[in-house]
Amino acid sequence: MIAIEGLSKTFETSGGEPHLALDGISIDIPKGQFLSILGPSGCGKSTLLYIVGGFVPASAGRIRVDGRAIAGPGPDRGPVFQEFALFPWKTVRGNVLYGLLQQGVPRDQAERRVSELLQMVHLSRYADFYPKELSGGMKQRVAIARTLAYDPAILLMDEPFGALDAHTRTKLQNELLSIWERDRKTVLFVTHSVEEAVYLSDRVMVMTPSPGRQKAVFDIDLPRPRIRAELLLNRRYQEYLIAIERLVQDGGEDEA
């Protein structure tokens, strides 16, 4: 459903020097696949996501979604950012409602959908709270509900759990999986955690540090629904972790 072909991105640094951030990324992501993009910071993995979102233009190459070249952002590709990016002047309900109203959904219908979504992310009691009154984990739940509200076919998740504590992170990973298993959206998930990538994904693309190139792509052949406690003893899960961890470490020393 997403076809990325020879994608490159060159930035101009503040000194005016060209800087190659992404180099020749080519990958096809079938409909309903959960793909993680894994790499050290500075490898351009978030940039890749922003280009697929249509927020940032590519320097070379092309991206097609369902056969059509993307032209800017659209409600078929819903972003979820590490920084939550909630509208601070709107309540939880107002945030989730906004995209729906924007898509022309009638108000009463939209309100019902928002109630369902808030229930799904366990925030029904916080519908009238403002973002500044919520914890990080709650904010990210609102952000996920806000994006799911307008029902994008593709979720673009940019280290969504990167700013959360370990406990909240694990909890939200599980919630995300149970949501995903319900409607199987195509997900592009950017992370620098090997464990997170393997636990969540159907496929993991490992990138090299700057410039970001594809180093390897792993098919994660593990049963679903995934239960962390069971996976920890799963031999194949352990092998994926070790193989990918080695690959990430190798050549990663010059960065960080």
């Binding site: 800017g72 509208f87 601070p88 002047w89 898509q103 500044k132 994006t147």
Partner: protein
Amino acid sequence: MTRWLALPGVPPLLALLALLGLWHLAATFFGYNFFPTPGAVFKTLPALFGEAEAAANIAASVKRMLAGFALALAVAVPLGLMMGRSPLVAKLVKPLVATIYPVPKAALMPIIMLWLGIGDAAKIFVIFIGASLPLLQHSFGGALAVDQKLIWSAQAMGLGPVKRLFAVVLPSALPEVMIGCRVGIIMALIVMVSSEMIARQSGVGNLLFNSADMALYDTVYAMIVVIAAIGFVADVAFEFVRRRLTFWAEIHQDPLVPSA
């Protein structure tokens, strides 16, 4: 023993009383006829408001100040927001602003009077210019600082550029825009008074200078009290509006907030 001192409103009241006391002592000590005591000044205030002409002057001033400010609000805020989101608009507008910014607005009055006469239009125009600059500057700064990811989130929801400006950029920048408003309303007051001192036709500035010409010093001081009161009320009103509009913001910037 000193608990009553900590009561809200007591310290500012004490400060005010101390100032009035000092004024009274100084006025009595020097005994100049152009330095009336506060008692004499406040005694002329009811008479001033009772006088149809004086009341009409004050009303005319406030009307011009609000008209000029409203115009600035309508023009400078959208323009500032656009400057913050479009480098091209910023490049076009910045040189104009940089040219007008350092010029004392009262210095523009002679030219503006030639074009627009000495009536309301010239004064409203110069108030508009004066109040526009802080509004423009703060709207520009506020729009520049908008989180790019809020814009992207809105884009993904399908908001076009005009809708984004008013539905995302404006509320995001609102805490900063409101600071511009507070500075702007006081700029409007300052320019209002100085424009009336130059084009002396009506208004509090005109009344103040006419009274000085006629050596009515009680009235001169009373007019200064009136102008200060207009400024104080405008500032408190804005702080009231600001708190209600931006209560959701993470940080409340409260520079020199009059204790509420």
